[in-house]
Amino acid sequence: MNHIFFLQLIPLLPLAGFLVNGLLGRRLPKALVSTVALAAPFAAFLLVVRAAYLIWSGSTFPVVETFAIGTRTAEWINAGPLHVDFTFALDQLTLVMLLIITGVGFLIHIYSVGYMSHEEGYWRYFAYLNLFLFFMSVLVLAENFLLMFVGWEGVGLASYLLIGFYFDKKSAADAGKKAFVVNRIGDFGFLLGMFLLLAQFGSLSFGSIGTSLAAQPALQGGILTAIALCLVVGACGKSAQIPLYIWLPDAMEGPTPVSALIHAATMVTAGVYMIARTHAIFDRSPFALAVVAIIGAATALFAATIGLVQTDIKRVLAYSTISQLGYMFLGCGVAAYSAAIFHLMTHAFFKALLFLAAGSVIHGLSGEQDMRNMGGLRKKLPITFWTMTAGVLAISGIFPFAGFFSKDADLYDAFEHGASGKAIWFVGLVAAGLTSFYMFRLWYLTFFGESRAETQTSAVNDNSHSTLHTSHSVHESPWSMLAPLVILALLSIGGGWIGMKHFGDFLAPVVGAVVDPEKEPGGETFDYFLSVVAVAVAALGWFIAHLFYFRKNDRAAKLAAAMSGVHSLLANKYWIDELYNFIFVRPLKAISTFILGWIGEGVIIRGSTWLLGGIVMLTGELLRRWQSGNLRSYAAWLAAGAAVLILFAGYAITGTWLGAHGIDIHINWAGR
């Protein structure tokens, strides 16, 4: 069966939404802006669902569609050996990503209508959000690296615009810049990887690179390791992994739905998607895979420890996002790509849910983000409470919520990955315990105990969100915000029930078969054992959080005081920002100041103007002495000039200067 999937419409619809709202939105009424902004992703979502249905009913993967208008081809670049097309491809992996992007994206659009209703620049916000969806779907639909890079850069741009949405706030503008610059470092790696791929395979198309790789089974390591490591640098930048994770916590300066969509559910998973998409290269390079696994495990643990002591509700979630992305990297690193994508999907559900619920709390508290000033919100925000509970249980990996299945799959595959895999599994397990602890800490601090908001209203965080609310009374959010919460909560509860087995089988044609416990001797029993251990660790984290934070007590404060060194290390995020500032930013600034300020502006610009002016002035000073006003000196110069002209004329005619023959004047003394 051959159906047209209208793949190009999936990104183009949000682009149209962006253009309408971006160009005209300022003049349109709010209702129309929302309609346009919601219609575009919804239509795209319907197209994706239709594609999924067509495939369900028998179409074959992968679907490749190129842009072709009439007889014009889809050619984009055709320069010598470099040949790039505007080609979109839809396979199982892309389908999963698209369902997440447009589905969760649409829910977050709905939520934003309520959340952003009081904000200035409502139209601008939705224009950017649609722009993001455009680039994100280009990223996952692209059939070659270059087109993927377009989406890759584009989501970075959208992210920059949305982090800096409150651009009159310096911290937000700075956070946007930081995100952009750090991502550029990663993009640099991605670009180098593309150049190497082009040099090695002469093509940037996923399909033809895959074919070339399959045709050369002997090609292992070496250049492929180099390519893979370059791509890992790109993935680390986009997916906020060590050492390029530092932009993500600061990205929380953006509006909360943006944090949910871009900095939790979709954009930051682009790195994981990229590794899964290019897994054929990684499979040939055990070293690169090990690097991915180590980065993932280290990030999962590292970010989780920072998350333990953060007090800003969004920052806890930001570090937990970094940590969960670490799990996905960990899964990729042990070649369990479908497990990583599975976790990506469930994470998209529960982390979007957590962020949106946190946004609902912040909205209800008129902009308060500090958990120390929350508490006792369980009764006041009941729907937010119950949905957030689903999210917390899911991320902590409590059975039978979605996170349990995907985290379990990741950890199981790590455990099965040889001796080094056991170490990675252990790190992942510890990180899971920490995750459970800090998520329940957040849960208890926010919803349980006495309200601490009234006593400390003076300390209300001056988020620009707060200034637009006049009332300080806590209120539950409107239904436009609660409905997405409920849907995402249902997905967070049930999203994992599809099971790793079916999910892995579905993705197997793209990313290769996953280690299946049911097919291993004794695997199933063993899988149950690992699951029980994981749930036990999660429950332990919950229990400790319960001890510390359920009732008002000073256990946490005592522990922090007893281990003040560790606490301040964590609270200051290991001083990584300060370290980077010292190692990279300041030397760079000094060098830039030197090159731009001293050499560029000082020597080249100022020097050249001084030199030019000086030459002109000096020449003028010399020449003005010529114009003495003395008639006889003018006459002398005139005579000298005439003499020189005559000399030249003589040379022109006779071909010699006065010399060898002299000007040949025969003086005829006698006769004619």
Binding site: N630, R632, R672
Partner: protein
């Protein structure tokens, strides 16, 4: 006795040089003016001589107008010199009335 053309040319050169030197070393404006006249007439002499030489070659017989150009130019130069003398003397008188001197070294107000 036949006088060779070159003598006239040499005389012309000498007169012109005298004019130039006079122009350069004399300070009195009237003397300078006379030096200019001397140069003009030195040129006139060479014009006439060259015209005569063209005629003498016989080639000019083909086209007499070429041979006569030298002489015609002399009339032009004389006419311009006469006009220049009239204007120049008037200027000199005006300068003398204004400045009370004709020393060229003191007439230097047009310098920068």
């Amino acid at each position: 006795m036949h006088v060779p053309s070159s003598w006239y040319l040499i005389l012309s050169a000498l007169l012109f040089t005298l004019g130039v030197v006079g122009f350069l070393i004399k300070r009195n404006l009237i003397t300078v003016f006379m030096s200019i006249e001397l140069m003009l007439n030195a040129v006139n002499l060479s014009f006439v001589t060259f015209g005569h030489m063209w005629r003498a070659t016989g080639q000019a017989a083909i086209d007499h107008r070429i041979a006569e150009r030298g002489q015609i130019f002399v009339f032009f130069v004389m006419m311009v010199a006469a006009a220049e003398a009239a204007v120049g003397l008037a200027v000199i008188i005006a300068i003398f009335r204004a400045r009370g001197t004709l020393n060229v070294d003191q007439i230097d107000l047009m310098k920068l």
